[in-house]
Symmetry: D2
Subunit: 254 residues, 4 copies
């Protein structure tokens, strides 16, 4: 019998850039407990960072850095063959930039979650994972490292001595080996909000997920990723939060 | 009678970018006591920042952030009509990025000196000066703010409660009002190393400088700027350091 | 008695960037006769340029290059103190990039209109105006140069031997000297669609505009700028086009 | 018996950026017959492009566009996972930008050679090769496409109807299958100038190269790549040109 279940809800945000707007950050902040704020490489800019940090702190949402590849044009979604040393350097840089805004606003940086292609590379490439874990650790060993549940990144973080958070996705299906179904495969995305909510409940309460193949696979879940930029993003966040409450699942930052 | 005179020698560095190299940083670090390290906006990149911070710390040179306008193509030398709020934001960002490398290398960020057109704008525009001073103060009130001697930037720093450093130049001539001779005016630059060294000695020991017009004007000097990228940069730095030693002027970071 | 009146309607477009969307380009293209397409410096990117050029050509709208300062973060709206030579170079570059897409799609580049702060600088600074005019002329002397009606840019274009287009604005008020009311002044913007339409009709049919002060000033109008990114942009474009038709004003590219 | 042998010598240039200098372009232009000029994505900027185009045309060297990935920090040497469509778009853009400078200076663009990681990707990935070939063809079907000898890029160019140039390298060793020895393998680079010169002569006169393994492999050579940025770049270019002359090999653009 599950006595007490707790989970964190996180969302990528601060991904606007200059005159360009992406994401319903202000509304999404009502429903999540952790905000991963872009740091100016794949998205975001200094002014957007300040505003987003300020909003998140006001709403008492835990603030994390969301570093990505230096590819604004590709929104950080394209793999760039950077060396582990280059990844270490770009991660230190981006964490520091975001941390300064948090400090200037009177808060404290809470976690780090890589973005997009950097996240995916770090999930499977141990050297890139180590580079990121080392960057986080050397900037501040108290930071929590978010990574794909069970991935090389989470392992690298744990090994270096960081607190880590296994991340799961509400709107992505899983494969029998616990990996995410690649976006190129049919059925990769869950578009039905109810199905997505049920997947989260199953993962959070039972520690397992029904795979695309219909089997079940164990999966650790410290934090659930909510997307903030779809047409139903706010509605989904509200619904998920409500369902978790009804199900007796506590929602709070790590 | 001057009993004891002390001054800081600073140099802009870390201004390489990727495959592009500028400045004889390693050699210059032998002679200066403060290093102003570019933060990736007008020059510098994450890997260059790490390497430069590491070198400076190894040589026990005080490390400062050297934020500039986001204009790599113009090397931060072109005025950009950014608002005070935008300047505040870009300054927080750049200080934070550099500070993270300093922290990761086990050091502590010591000072901030704006670069190029941002430095010049902050010297004369009180709103831009305040924006920078506030950024520095909010990121870390222990940082020392470097600005043109007697400028609006130094004044803004002092007003907000920061320690400030009045900066003078070895290779630039001064006007009767204490301002630098604009580069467009004949005689703006001092190319004779001996003349430059004597100007520094006069400023440091007597607190005044002989202007281009031949008169004298009082000038405060906490730190002297050495340029690191000319053909004689290293030779000049060595010579100035030696002459200061012979003249009994102590050289150390603030 | 006015026997025949003709005017061009132009709109800035192609100002999206990567994942970021700005402007209702496809719909606006139904109502305008000239499209000024961003070239990747202040906005736009290669893929957006291709798509926008293709759409404009399909709808038989005249395609122009819309070069700006290299300031994506500021959307080209911030003055950058670039030299005339730098402005010449950035203009040649951007025209060429856009022209290649037009050629690849089987069309021919028709005109050039600078963007934002570059447009404003060129309107009042003869050296910057000449630099742009020379860039346009040297890339292709058949291109038409669009500039603020009566400005230094139009004059520079005419002097070098280019065909020029005097541009007027539907939603901006004018001063007694024929200049636009600065945005910082109350009454600078016309928000009432009917008032904006009437201003265009007055300018186009009578060659004069009622100033903010209530006087009238003569103004030449070869092309009217329609904004494509406001909430009512499409509605306004449709209404203006319809009113011009009813008033017997022919609308066509130059 | 070889009756008449002709080859082109090409060099990448215009790779400076703002205040940053790379390459001895002016001197190298004395010895090569084709110049591949960077277009602002991996290196180069509008002003550098104008200057380099002007110099090359003055010295009657054939001017080519040298497009790369949008990665100034990595100098275009890092693979970026861009789609074929994105590669098509970035290639059209860069060719157009360079072509405009050539036109403004009264010349005509002659060829296109992709840079660094884009060159390597195009050599082995048929879809990327096709994207580049199509971009070149649609901008101007008279352009000559340079690619690694025998590669997918040369094949894609030929298939679409372009004239192509098989490129060989003076200072890289070859494998038994005709591919370049990867830089990570010992013996990949030829540092002895005499050995490099002899390799070129062997390739140009006999149509074959001695591989790193000691065997011989046939190789087509329309153009030889000279590097312009090493310490001995100018000396090597001069020596190679002289040796080719002595050997009766005509050197001229295609």
């Amino acid at each position: 019998v599950v006595i007490f279940v707790r989970v964190d809800l996180n969302c990528d945000m601060g991904e606007s850039f200059g005159a360009y707007r992406i994401g319903a950050d202000e509304q999404i902040l009502e429903y999540v407990t952790s905000a991963n704020i872009a740091c100016g490489f794949h998205a975001g800019d200094p002014s957007t960072m300040r505003r987003t940090v300020r909003m998140a702190l006001e709403k008492q949402v835990a603030v994390g850095a969301h570093p990505g590849y230096p590819d604004l044009l590709g929104f950080g979604r394209r793999f760039l063959d950077a060396t582990p040393e280059e990844v270490y350097d770009m991660t230190v840089y981006q964490i520091g930039a975001l941390a300064a805004f948090v400090k200037a606003e009177g808060g404290k940086l809470h976690h780090v979650k890589p973005h997009g292609a950097l996240y995916n590379t770090a999930a499977r490439d141990p050297k890139i994972a180590e580079a990121i874990a080392e960057a986080v650790y050397r900037v501040d060993p108290d930071l929590i490292l978010f990574g794909l549940s069970g991935s090389a990144l989470v392992e690298a973080g744990r090994r270096i001595g960081l607190r880590v958070a296994n991340e799961v996705f509400a709107d992505r299906t899983y494969q029998a080996d616990g990996s995410l179904t690649p976006r190129s495969v049919a059925g990769a995305l869950i578009t039905d909000v109810d199905v997505a909510v049920e997947q989260v409940l199953s993962i959070v309460r039972e520690g397992r997920v029904r795979t695309l193949q219909g089997t079940y696979v164990d999966i650790a879940a410290d934090t659930v990723c909510i997307h903030g930029d779809g047409p139903n993003a706010v509605g989904f966040a509200r619904r998920l939060r409500e369902r978790l409450r009804l199900a007796g699942v506590a929602v709070s930052a790590l």
